[in-house]
Symmetry: C2
């Protein structure tokens, strides 16, 4: 399992519309993607145009090859691309350690 971390900066004042677009994409586009497991989506306190979207995938290639090479990627970008102030910074991570059993609302 690998973690995709997308560091996103949107244009000012579009937070509500962007969050709705991401939510819609998560429940339509990503749920169809091979190897997609789950997500968490966070909004930055200090930089209100910044979001971090974290997606877990079974393998690196499920994201970088399968998803990015599929029509789902085009669909995702058509839903959210206009909100981006710059291309998102995306890299992939392996877990070193966690103390979490649940990540969610307290």
């Amino acid at each position: 399992m690998i973690l995709e971390v997308a560091d996103i900066r949107i244009k000012p004042g579009q937070q509500t519309e962007f969050e709705i677009a991401v939510q819609t994409a998560l429940t339509t586009v990503f749920k169809k993607a091979k190897g997609f497991r789950n997500h968490n989506f966070h909004h930055c306190i200090e930089s209100p145009e910044r979001y971090v979207l974290q997606l877990t995938w079974d393998t690196l290639e499920d994201h970088t090859v399968e998803f990015r090479g599929s029509p789902l990627f085009t669909e995702w970008r058509s839903m959210v691309g206009n909100f981006f102030a710059q291309p998102p910074h995306v890299e992939h991570f392996e877990l070193v350690s966690t103390s979490e059993t649940k990540l969610g609302v307290a």
Copy 2:
């Protein structure tokens, strides 16, 4: 509950020692910190000197005021500061949404 995201770049070739230092700090320093809940710690695949350390706190001030103003912060930095290639980029986040019930090793 808020999420602290520390984006860390270390000096080359010190991954093993850095991971041990962080693990030690998590189980000694952070476990004593007021409002500290849990962590996850990830290593970047594309940029091997990059780590993302995510810590959840009860409140923003538990991290920014209480922890950073305490001797625990000095202790933490004394354990890991020498590994940093540059000051970590740290910001705080609120959860927009999650589909996770468990975050961990598959």
